[in-house]
Amino acid sequence: MGPIVCATRGGEVSRRTQERAIALARERETPLIFFFVADTGFAGPTNEPLSEALDDELARLGRTMLYIARTRAREQGISAHSVARHGTVSEVMENFLREVDASLLVMGTPQENSGHQSFKPGEITEFAEQIRAATGVEVLVVS
């Protein structure tokens, strides 16, 4: 069985999402990968040096959050991996799920009052459907 991929961006429900993914990895005895996409689309047009700094800082933030998630998994006896990529969330995620031949994608529901979101709360189901249709990977949305 392919690995479980847990997408994280440090939002309001990310902790619950990670815990759920860890529990499922233990239950199914499958590898777990925490995944972060540095998508700077929210910043709009910026000059090149700033865009590079933005991309780099976002990826750095992502790597730190992935490290914390990995530590959390290790404390519960699960040895997880983590991967950070750059690009548009949907595109990068679809490619990655195919690349690792994932069996399940676990992701959190964005909350109404938690700043910029790649998706609005109502759009997450639509996004999950899109991923499922494009990759054939089962998607679990944690709220």
Binding site: G10, G11, E12, S14, R15, N47, N113, S114, G115
Partner: protein, 525 residues
């Protein structure tokens, strides 16, 4: 030479007074500008310092840097998001306000309609310096701050143009609506055109030079030059400065290195601080409190007229605009803020001081203007923070406040424990007492730590906020270390510039990420 030295001495004293006031308001809950006016009033009552406030001084010397700085900071994107409400309030809003005020003071004070319109125009421009400064401190939504600031930038120009047209109508005894509208458009659009043209030239030069001394000089020439050139051409100097600031701040800054941007923006912030300080001190010094008290009746009518007109413009006009198709919604809480935050200041006073000697009831108009400015600053300026709190516009996400509270308690508890440890080490605290207190502090610390862990578990986004904050701290430390390395000649000026530019750019990137990912405040109504 002696006269020059005397002026220099007065300016230095005023700046010193401003600095003292700035230090004092850190300890008392009073807007800086309001405190300056009060100190100015005290100086004038006690005749400590005599300084004649002329309209030229305010309009040509202090106003350009104030307007330029506000426009220079205002981002096109923020302005675009709020453009419709801003323009509705700044153009038809000011016209309507001038007419309503004119109607009320004409009936209430017995002024001729022409003279009443002159007063309506001169007192219609809002000056929210005190309010905007408070917004920054209280963390009010950015879009609301932009709406208030944007309205004030554009309504200055509208009010001045209407004021001049009304003066001409009173002097000639006739007024043609068609000519009036044509003149209004010519003066306003002409002023904007001059400012845009000069702004483009400056932006082009700024974008191709990366030397902050030259760029500071160019923007200084631009701010004052745009005003002077437009006024020479009988166009709106204020609107010219607005356009010049917007263009140079948004387009010129694109090619700047982060270091240049930081230095340039700091320079303009400082210049605006100095101008503001002097303007509001001089406002206080220029008000004759005895005369204001003697003419309290007409002043009360003028204050009522200003409040009624503001209410009609903010609630009525925005409601109407809301009903007329695609319009950015302005929440009710914001409308209350726009209403009560519509303070009057430097523009109104400068125009009142510039009234021609032959104008009927000129002195009364001046006193009414001074009275209105004083009322809005003292009554509205000092209570706006309560309104913002009551409307919930200063509320931060509760989980962040809770985290800060826990952190504060933990920090304080650890400091207390350290102090007790020192007392014990020095033999000033007995073993039994020390052991008991240590146990108590340890329990309190454990409790706080466990609550903090629970808080982070409930609000996972706090983790991201802490990571961003910590990264900022680390970058600040890196910048400081580079300064040390430069002073110790470990690195050259060139390498210092290169590395600090990189750090500044990363700080800017973190600000953008923080702004985008920060949990927003509870939903606004």
């Amino acid at each position: 030479m002696e006269k020059f030295l005397a002026i220099e001495t007065v300016v230095i004293i005023l700046l010193f007074v401003a600095a003292i006031v700035a230090i004092a308001v850190r300890r008392i809950r009073l807007p800086y500008t309001v405190a300056l006016v009060l100190v100015g009033l005290f100086i004038s009552l006690e005749h400590i310092l005599v300084f004649e406030v002329t309209p030229e001084l305010i309009l040509a010397l202090f106003l350009p840097p104030l307007i330029f700085e506000a426009a220079f900071h205002l981002e096109f994107s923020s302005l675009r998001d709020n453009l419709l409400p801003i323009l509705v309030l700044a153009v038809p809003g000011v016209m309507l306000s001038a007419l309503i005020i004119a109607g009320i003071v004409s009936v209430g004070v017995g002024l001729s309609l022409g003279v009443a319109v002159v007063f309506g125009a001169l007192i219609s421009a809002t000056d929210p310096v005190a309010v905007v400064a408070l917004f920054r401190t209280l963390g009010v939504p950015r879009r609301l701050a932009v709406a208030v600031e944007g309205e004030s930038l554009f309504n200055d120009g509208t009010a001045i143009v209407i004021f001049h047209l009304a003066l001409i109508a009173v002097a000639t005894g006739s007024f043609s609506v068609v000519e009036g509208v044509a003149d209004f458009l010519l003066v306003s659009l002409g002023g904007l055109g001059v400012g845009m043209a000069l702004g483009w030239v400056a932006a082009y030069l700024i974008a191709h030079i990366d030397d902050y001394f030259i760029e500071i000089t160019l923007t200084t020439v631009l701010a004052f030059g745009a005003y002077l050139m437009a006024e020479q051409l009988h166009l709106s100097g204020v609107l010219a400065v607005v356009a010049a600031g917007l263009i140079s701040g948004n387009i010129g800054s694109r090619g700047m290195s982060p270091t240049t941007k930081t230095v340039l923006f700091s320079f303009w912030e400082y210049l605006a601080f100095v101008s503001n300080s002097l303007v509001f001190l001089l406002i206080g010094m220029g008000i004759d409190l005895n005369q204001v008290i003697t003419h309290i009746g007409p002043i009360a009518v003028a204050v009522a007229a200003v409040l009624v007109s503001r209410a009609i413009v903010v609630y009525g006009l925005l409601w109407l605009a809301d009903r007329l198709g695609r319009f950015v919604h302005v929440p009710l809480s914001w409308r209350h803020t726009l209403f009560w935050g519509g303070l009057r200041g430097a523009i109104g006073l400068a125009l009142a001081l510039s009234l021609p000697a032959g104008l009927p009831q000129r002195d009364l108009l001046r006193l009414m203007a001074f009275g209105v400015v004083l009322f809005t600053l003292l009554a509205q300026g000092t209570t706006i923070s309560f309104l913002l709190n009551w409307l919930g516009l200063t509320r931060r996400p509760p989980q962040i406040v809770a985290r800060e509270r826990h952190l504060g308690r933990l920090y304080a508890a650890q400091a207390g424990l350290r102090h007790l440890k020192e007392l014990h080490r020095d033999g000033l605290l007995g073993e039994d007492v020390w052991a008991a207190l240590r146990e108590e502090y340890a329990q309190a610390s454990d409790q706080l730590t466990s609550e903090m862990v629970q808080l982070f578990a409930q609000h996972a986004d706090l983790e991201r906020e802490v990571l961003l904050r910590t990264r900022r701290e680390a970058l600040r430390a890196e910048r400081g270390a580079l300064g040390d390395a430069l002073r110790q000649s470990l690195i050259s000026e060139e390498v210092f510039q290169e590395l600090t530019t990189e750090i500044d750019r990363r700080m800017e990137a973190l600000d953008i990420i923080g702004e985008a990912t920060m949990p927003s405040r509870p939903a606004e109504t």
